[in-house]
């Protein structure tokens, strides 16, 4: 059995009126855990608790199999970066980055110097090394704070929205850096983010928090395409959430919406577990990218229905088409080229279709 890097058992933490309740998860050294959740759901508190900066009111923490529940933060040696960068104003950028090395008496060690130079280069802050933090912009500060947490190669990194004030390009470079640190140096990472693509691109494992509790945990892709609850689906910006119920026909299960639309047959995996679905009021979850849009002329087929285009929003990477049909709103995402090929515009009638593979049913 591969040993867990971090195991959190039933963590409970009270902060004022808020409390984290019964958080449990475990991760190996090759896991990159992303934590997602609405603001105020307890993400920062959770990271602080893991780092040892908050006293637990219950539960236990194990690092590489050793209990660290009562270990002070400096003996856990986890890398940690707060949401706001909190640089030391009395130290230059370089000294800030080397601050962790200094704790171990390695401030002058050549390997630390080399690593600092490498990190600064990658994050494009080499020209700032001699400056004091008050002369930095928000994004510059955030990168310095990240470099400071990473420098001494801690076994586990706890990062609270480390990329939130970076522009796309810098963010991309920093993501690459994180991925490399994770893969090449075998450092486990827990990364709080609000950005879905960040979560999808970086995370090997995802924890979704809600009101201080784990709402859903699993692979990011699984959660994105198979949210377990309506909250999760909505939170993940599930574009199409359609009420209806599941009916059995010809030995298979189908999803019925408004009497007119019958989607299916539903694959086993896309049904909520432990729940006899037939007859219950349920919600069908379809990502906008999974709904195919074609000209109205095409022949009606299974899992397809007709609708009117109500709005079109052209984004940088894709086009969002909003339609109205069968008493519901539908959203479909197309690539620019595809949209161009269809040559449609607002008000026209179209045919929407979905592959049963992309259907996902969640309890209401």
């Amino acid at each position: 059995m591969n040993q867990d890097l971090l195991e959190a058992c039933a963590l409970t933490v009270n902060v004022g009126k808020f409390s984290l309740k019964n958080i449990g998860f475990s991760m190996g050294p090759d896991d990159y855990v992303v934590i997602l959740g609405p603001t105020g759901c307890g993400k920062t508190v959770l990271l602080e608790s893991i780092a040892g900066l908050r006293l637990l009111n219950g539960g236990a923490l194990f690092l590489s199999g050793k209990e660290i529940t009562h270990l002070p933060p400096e003996r856990r040696r986890l890398g940690f970066a707060y949401q706001d960068s909190l640089l030391y104003p009395f130290l230059t950028v370089q000294e800030n980055i080397l601050f962790g090395a200094r704790a171990r008496g390695l401030k002058e060690a050549p390997e630390m110097r080399r690593r600092m130079a490498y990190l600064a280069e990658t994050m494009n802050i080499t020209h700032l090394l001699g400056r004091y933090p008050r002369f930095l912009s928000g994004g510059e500060r955030q990168r310095v704070s990240l470099a400071r947490a990473i420098l001494t190669k801690p076994p586990l990194l706890l990062l609270d929205e480390p990329l939130s004030s970076l522009d796309r390009q810098t963010r991309h470079a920093t993501q690459e850096l994180l991925r490399e640190i994770h893969l090449a140096e075998g450092i486990g990472i827990i990364h709080v983010t609000h950005d879905f693509s960040e979560a999808l691109q970086l995370g090997s494992h995802m924890l979704m928090l809600h009101n201080g509790q784990v709402e859903q945990a699993g692979k990011p892709r699984d959660i994105f395409f198979h949210p377990a609850t309506e909250f999760a689906a909505k939170f993940l910006h599930g574009e199409n959430l359609i009420p209806g119920k599941v009916v059995g026909r010809e030995g298979k299960l189908w999803f019925e919406h408004g009497g007119d639309i019958l989607l299916g047959p539903l694959p086993e995996c896309c049904l909520p577990k432990g729940l006899s679905p037939a007859g219950n009021s349920l919600t069908m979850f379809i990502r906008a990218g999974s709904i195919r849009l074609s000209r109205a002329g095409e022949a009606p087929a299974a899992n397809s229905w007709s609708a009117l285009i109500s709005d079109v929003i052209i984004n940088s990477t894709h086009v969002d088409v909003y339609c109205h049909g069968n008493g519901s709103s539908w959203q479909s995402s197309l690539s620019l080229a595809e949209w161009q090929g269809l040559d449609l515009s607002r008000g026209e009638r179209v045919r929407l279709s979905v592959d049963p593979e992309y259907l996902h049913v969640i309890p209401q």
Binding site: L53, R77, L86, F90, L91, R104, A149
Partner: protein, 264 residues
């Protein structure tokens, strides 16, 4: 503030500032003017004065250092911990400010005389009427100023700054030295200056606890008092002015060196 134009608000502030500056300059000028040149020369050549300068410097610096040793933990604990009776203890630490120095001296005399005197004597650590007494009295008077200023400096630190250092591998002691103290630097230096200045000017408690034995427990303040008592105001003023100039010089040097005068 950003506007170049000075508005009424800033005008009033500057006005008061300038008035006070003028007031102090005139005051010092008055002292200088009132003193006679001959008195300065004779003071400077007086061996008793030489003794007093050296003696005052080392006792006051030692007292300030001891005040810091006490004030750092006390300020820190008052700033970071809550416990029943905290307000009480917090106020208790202001006592040496409130008490007239004379009374402070008597209180110290009671403590180090009848109460602890024998024990201290057995340890060979007599405090009453000794140079040690001078340091103790100055320390006693200066400490509360340091405590109050340090507490305030510690108060204004974001505890998350310290948290980050913990995760970077610093023990609480390491965090204190490497993060808390540098962050509180401005306040600490200000408090030290204040404590030292107070120790320097201290007279009442010193005279009571350590006596005013010439060439033994005679600080500059004592020398000034003695000369005043004889009615030799010239000599007293000359001593005071020289003491003032030396103190100002040292404080300016300290501020420039430690960089507190310059706002970063």
């Amino acid at each position: 503030m950003l506007t170049t134009r000075i508005n009424i608000f800033q005008g009033v502030f500057w006005l008061i500032f300038i008035l006070i500056t003028i007031f102090l300059v005139v005051l010092v000028g008055g002292l200088l003017f009132y003193g006679k040149w001959a008195a300065f020369v004779s003071v400077i050549h007086h061996p008793e004065f030489h003794f007093a300068v050296v003696f005052t410097l080392w006792t006051s610096l030692l007292a300030t250092a001891l005040a810091a040793v006490v004030a750092v933990p006390c300020g820190f604990i008052l700033s970071r911990y809550s416990f029943p009776g905290k307000v009480l203890i917090d106020t208790l630490m202001d006592i040496p400010i409130v008490l007239p120095p004379l009374v402070s001296g008597i209180a110290l005399l009671i403590l180090f005389g009848p109460v602890l005197g024998d024990a201290l004597a057995r340890l060979g650590m007599d405090i009453v009427f000794s140079t040690r007494g001078v340091v103790v009295a100055q320390w006693f008077i200066a400490t509360p100023f340091a405590i109050r200023t340090f507490k305030q400096a510690f108060d204004s630190i974001d505890p998350r700054m310290e948290n980050v250092a913990r995760t970077l591998g610093y023990s609480p002691a390491g965090v204190f030295v490497r993060v808390t103290v540098p962050l509180a630097k401005g306040g600490i230096l200000g408090g030290l200056t204040m404590a030292w200045a107070r120790a320097l000017g201290e007279f009442g408690a010193t005279a009571m606890l350590a006596g005013i034995t010439r060439l033994k427990t005679e600080t500059l303040s004592v020398a000034i008092f003695l000369n005043m008592s004889i009615g030799d105001i010239q000599f007293a003023m000359a001593t005071a002015v020289i003491m003032l100039l030396v103190a100002l010089l040292l404080m300016i040097a300290f501020k420039v060196f430690a960089g507190t005068g310059v706002r970063l």
